[in-house]
Assembly symmetry: C2
Homo-oligomer: 493 residues x 2
């Protein structure tokens, strides 16, 4: 049975939505721009979150929790940050509903319950957190503060897409406070590396590490570092950001500390975050026309075993017993495995279903194979099938999961390399964008005006200036002005 997915070549956007919805990751909700993350999608997020959380703790961070609401007067305090988010803020103005006198059983907002000061639903938490840090920091002994928060945030986007851009999303936001500029910059880069390692080693997603141009910087940051990934349609996706905030928030909230010489100094800040958007990146980077392809290290389910029952009850018992053995061995190795022996669906239907959901490895156990001490092992990424001896099959599968992880990364890296090109003229730049989209390395004169103009003309933006970027003299593709390095352009999600 087919699962009637739209193919990538037919309609890439619809393919993406089909995978999210039919693959069981998420569903639309009754709230404009908000989605429901279904158990399978949330299981994926839990696995990603657990790895990241461990990495944060290993690098000395602790979790905490700050209020959902930001009073408007605090929200305003750091002006650039406020400007950057003002246009997409959900605002709480009242704290009570009451019975509608004209409409039995209905409710209206109680006009007598207006808040004295409106509350912004946090689009990001710098303001509320720095207003708190003010009370926690007096001396250099109180520094550094290395805190992370797992939370929901709200940005009222006009055009939303499942996972990639939703009005509410889940994320983590690290907020650190330091005594020196150098230490804050080091933290910013360290967390960028944590993100990059996570993306590459767990999500099998190769990423460019770079720094944003001024136009693309986080509102209120001195520098925004980012990781950028390439999707199968040649568009870029920003997968994580780490911001060096300078002393902007310390000044806005008047957060000073006494240094060792008892001199008062403003505190240096960073913030860094990744969100459920990563799930969108994962889907678009790896999946195919049969469904999701999920890297084993973060897959909610790594292995499924499907018995091919015959009418022979004794054989059925033998299949169940053998499956039980394999499951026990795999679980002892820390592999997650499900036995799909539900009689009400045919094996072919199950195969399609597990392909759609991107389970990395499927084992089919049938009577004939059983007689020959074999099982059929199918890997989701390449769709190869192999007859494997039942002796030592759990070792085989555990190794295969690692191989799949590695090959998915290699495949994505090869794709990125094949879709990274230099453009030396405006004509070439425009032609590549339309005909062979991907990362385009091109010279730029370094001005925000030129970047803005290029964006207007082509919808392409500077994704980043890669770290350790080779220096190379050239001329800006738009203005012809001198340039000292190529930067990475792409159209982006």
């Amino acid at each position: 049975m087919g699962n009637s997915l739209t193919s990538r070549s037919q309609d890439y956007s619809q393919w993406y939505n089909d995978l999210i919805l039919k693959g069981g990751l998420a569903d639309y909700s009754a709230v404009r721009g908000c989605m429901v993350i279904k158990p399978y999608g949330f299981g994926l997020w839990e696995n990603m979150r657990d790895v990241l959380d461990r990495k944060f703790k290993e690098t000395g961070h602790q979790n905490a929790y700050f209020p959902l609401f930001v009073p408007k007067s605090l929200f305003e305090a750091e002006e650039k940050n406020a400007e950057g988010f003002a246009k997409e803020c959900a605002v709480v103005t009242h704290y009570r509903l009451k019975a509608d006198p004209d409409n039995k059983g209905k409710l209206i907002v109680d006009p007598n319950a207006r808040l004295e000061e409106e509350l912004v639903v946090r689009p990001t938490s710098e303001a509320i957190i720095w207003n708190t840090y003010k009370n926690w920091i007096q001396s250099y002994r109180d520094l550094p503060i290395l805190i992370n928060q797992w939370a929901n945030v709200v940005r009222w986007e006009m055009r939303t897409r499942l996972f990639l851009r939703t009005a509410e999303f889940l994320w983590q936001e690290g907020h650190t406070a330091h005594a020196t500029k150098a230490e804050a910059i080091e933290e910013t880069k360290k967390m960028l590396d944590v993100y990059a390692d996570f993306a590459e080693q767990y999500m099998a997603l190769p990423v460019l590490r770079g720094v944003k141009s001024a136009n693309e910087r986080f509102a209120g940051a001195e520098d925004t570092y980012c990781i950028e990934a390439l999707m199968q349609d040649g568009k870029a996706l920003q997968a994580g950001t780490s911001h060096f905030l300078g002393q902007n928030f310390a000044k806005a909230f008047d957060v000073k500390f006494a240094d060792k010489e008892n001199k008062l100094e403003y505190v240096w800040a960073t913030s860094w975050g990744v969100s459920t958007r990563l799930i969108g990146a994962l889907v678009m980077a790896h999946s195919d026309d049969e469904g999701l392809v999920i890297p084993p290290r973060i897959a909610p389910l790594q292995v499924v075993i499907v018995p091919i029952y015959s009418k022979d009850e004794a054989m059925k018992a033998r299949l169940d017993a053998k499956a039980g053995e394999i499951i026990k061995e795999l679980r002892a190795k820390g592999v997650s495995v499900k036995y799909d022996n539900d009689d009400s669906n045919r094996p072919g239907w199950k195969f399609a279903e597990h392909e759609l959901r991107g389970v990395p490895v499927r084992i089919a156990l049938g009577p004939r194979d059983m007689e020959n001490n074999l099982a059929e092992v199918a890997r989701r990424d390449t769709k190869e099938k192999l007859s494997v001896s039942l002796d030592g099959i759990s070792n085989y599968v555990a190794d295969l999961l690692e191989e799949i992880q590695q090959q998915m990364f290699n495949k994505a890296l090869k794709f990125r390399e094949e879709n990274s090109r230099n453009a030396d003229t405006w004509e070439e730049f425009v032609r590549l964008l339309d005909e062979q989209p991907g990362f385009i390395y091109a010279h730029w004169d370094g001005t925000p005006e030129t970047e803005e103009k290029i964006k207007e003309l082509t919808k392409a933006t500077i994704r980043c200036i890669p770290l350790d970027n080779p220096q190379e003299e050239g001329k800006c593709i738009l203005t012809g002005s001198p340039s000292a390095q190529r930067v990475v352009f792409a159209r982006a999600y």
Copy 2:
């Protein structure tokens, strides 16, 4: 150095606040009624959450995530639920701020960005979830749905207290859907047992399991089951609730399924939750005038080792080396341990600090003890100190942690037993409430009117009708009408 805590006898409320604030669990925030959960408090919550999450998964539940906002029209759908929460709803009415034309650098709510339909910030998620389940349930094959969500919720309480009652709080809410009434009731009770086991085995908190009277029932439930704990001031605290929702939400959202005979039936529902309020219960049940007392199984830090440095550098190195050994052995046993060798604070200051924070076991390693192959082990719960041989000290400490866990439970249980009394007359009831507050077992005529009247007169409420309550004929303490059983009264948080 003392930590200048208010004592329980001096001012119980202030003692509680001191412990939360000075013990590093939480802080006030700039948002009315909302608090900041600090790293130490959040570490405690993470430990509690992880245990509960494992128990939920072991009982077949999966996590998912539903939107923060509930459109007003959905919120209204289940009338009793809507009535119950309408008076404490934060309401989003606008989705944009704009520059204040009269006040440079300030923002105002953009009057042109009014939502067509107001959004309620979820006080609980039955409405948004049942509106979603409607799309997920067609047939008996789609049932049961066993989903849990970890989330923040908002209830605009007028009088708030750290952890016990805050405008925003963190919780988990399970929402399940079933084909039969019996199965839903079984689920309701099963989750009550999960909560009770968690409270008793991990929080060392003995709880009564019972069912609420109609007055105290969750808005929209047919029956509310609860666990009730007794605090050191003799007031009760509801520590968790599990609701049998009948078909109320299925009817409100028109959620039907085709049964095996293809007949359409309304779905049966449950919901159940515990929140960060549990941290308040933990503090008030166990702590003392020196600070927090935290049960080892959920303590963010179980053991602290404090070296007593002398001026002898060689001895300092020996102390550090021995501490390193003990730490390694304890960690291998899964015990969390910190080496507090910060030179800038004196040992006595550190002892007071770790007592304040409720670290279950402190090991002091000093030169003289070292010469005798001993260390001083202090347990936080009883404040006993013992000289313990360094040989096998990690085994000793691991056992001691279990003993502390058990003794904390026993102590709390003894306290509850000593503060549970029968009252047979109105005079006795009132006298006990004022002079020996605790759980009062008394006869009640079963009417909401009498319960309401008792509450008005004494501020005591029916905490629960215990499960498997012994049947005993008697007369209502207020009205003298016949009663078939005693119920549990108390003043409550």
